[in-house]
């Protein structure tokens, strides 16, 4: 995966996050973007989609931490 740190452009913010974090990405791809229900996924409402995925995310991360902790 080629995730060139975008910090290479010369900005100097307080803290630079080098890799696209999954949570930030999911914020955007699940709650942003043009919502046009494709004819295949017509019945997946956007709210459902976000709920489903965030539940998956929170559950999995929680489980991971429990296991390692």
């Amino acid at each position: 995966m080629s995730e060139a740190p975008s910090g290479a452009t010369g900005y100097h913010p307080a803290v630079r996050e080098e890799r696209v974090a999954l949570v930030d990405l999911l914020d955007r791809v699940l709650a942003g973007g043009v919502v046009i229900a494709g004819d295949v996924t017509l019945s997946i409402a956007d709210v459902d989609l976000v709920t489903i995925s965030l539940r998956a995310l929170v559950t999995s991360v929680g489980a991971l931490q429990e296991r390692s902790g």
């Binding site: 975008s6 913010p13 942003g32 043009v34 046009i36 995925s53 998956a56």
Partner: protein
């Protein structure tokens, strides 16, 4: 739309001019990205298997974090690659059509909206700014040495200390919230548009401090450096906050349907 069939994943819409940018781009499900034109616009699409991306399969797969991550990153990489060269209007994850004609129909039907979004995003990028409550140790003057009070026992001293601790934490949170609002307003002045997402929970950020701001800003590319400098300056000026900057992002948060101007 049979189980063995193919369907079309839509990544984004670009202006129809010079659609040659997708040469060799691999997207979701390992498929090649291609361009599908209609109504003077072009959709970036990829052929995907209905057995993995059809409606029933999507419902199942969206619950699988590994699948979700793989798919979200593949979707993002295509959009990000193209966004480096031209304005793109990203589609929400899991926008799937049965075939070319259905996508062309969507382009014709939504042409006016899509053109408006393209115009808004041209020459702009999205930047993410998150703010966490800074830990007391990071804040100037956070640790006050307690004067010794000879008139009380160790129990009372403990309670006093504990109360002071709790009050300090409450103050830190209140100050951070006020600072976050100021930061949002200040950065909004440098932006064409701004939007807030719900703060991410500590379980997913793996950051010990609580998040008080999770915002996205649409910034003209010629002001990007100024925006970055402003974040640095605000971070220095607001000791109650810890700020992080991400970007540049394609304009996911500013495609037209979700803008909210104010915090809260």
């Amino acid at each position: 739309m049979t189980a063995e069939g193919r369907c079309l994943w839509v990544y984004a819409v670009v202006d129809d001019a010079a659609p040659g940018v997708t040469g060799g781009l691999i997207g979701v499900g390992g498929g090649l990205v291609r361009v599908l034109g209609a109504a003077g616009l072009a959709a970036l699409v990829g052929d995907v298997a209905a057995s993995e991306f059809g409606e029933a399969a999507l419902r199942r797969n969206l619950e699988d974090l590994d699948w979700l991550e793989r798919t979200a990153r593949a979707h993002h990489e295509v959009i990000e690659t193209v966004a480096k060269e031209r304005a793109v209007v990203p589609m929400r994850l899991a926008t799937v059509y049965s075939g070319d004609e259905a996508v062309a129909g969507m382009l014709r039907e939504r042409a006016a909206d899509l053109r408006q979004a393209l115009a808004r995003l041209t020459g702009h990028s999205e930047w993410g700014v998150k703010a966490y409550v800074a830990s007391p140790a990071d804040q100037a003057g956070g640790e006050q040495p307690e004067p010794d009070d000879p008139g009380s026992g160790p129990g009372a001293a403990y309670l006093r200390r504990r109360r002071a601790q709790l009050a300090a934490r409450r103050d830190a949170r209140q100050e951070a919230a006020a600072s976050a609002e100021a930061v949002y307003g200040e950065l909004g002045r440098l932006s064409a548009s701004a939007r807030v997402y719900p703060p991410q929970s500590p379980e997913v950020t793996r950051h010990p401090a609580s998040m008080v701001l999770n915002a996205a800003f649409l910034v003209a590319d010629e002001r990007a450096e100024e925006f970055g400098a402003a974040v640095t300056e605000l971070a220095a000026g607001h000791r109650s906050l810890q700020l992080t900057l991400t970007g540049p992002w394609p304009g996911y948060s500013f495609t037209g349907q979700h803008q909210t101007g104010d915090l809260q």
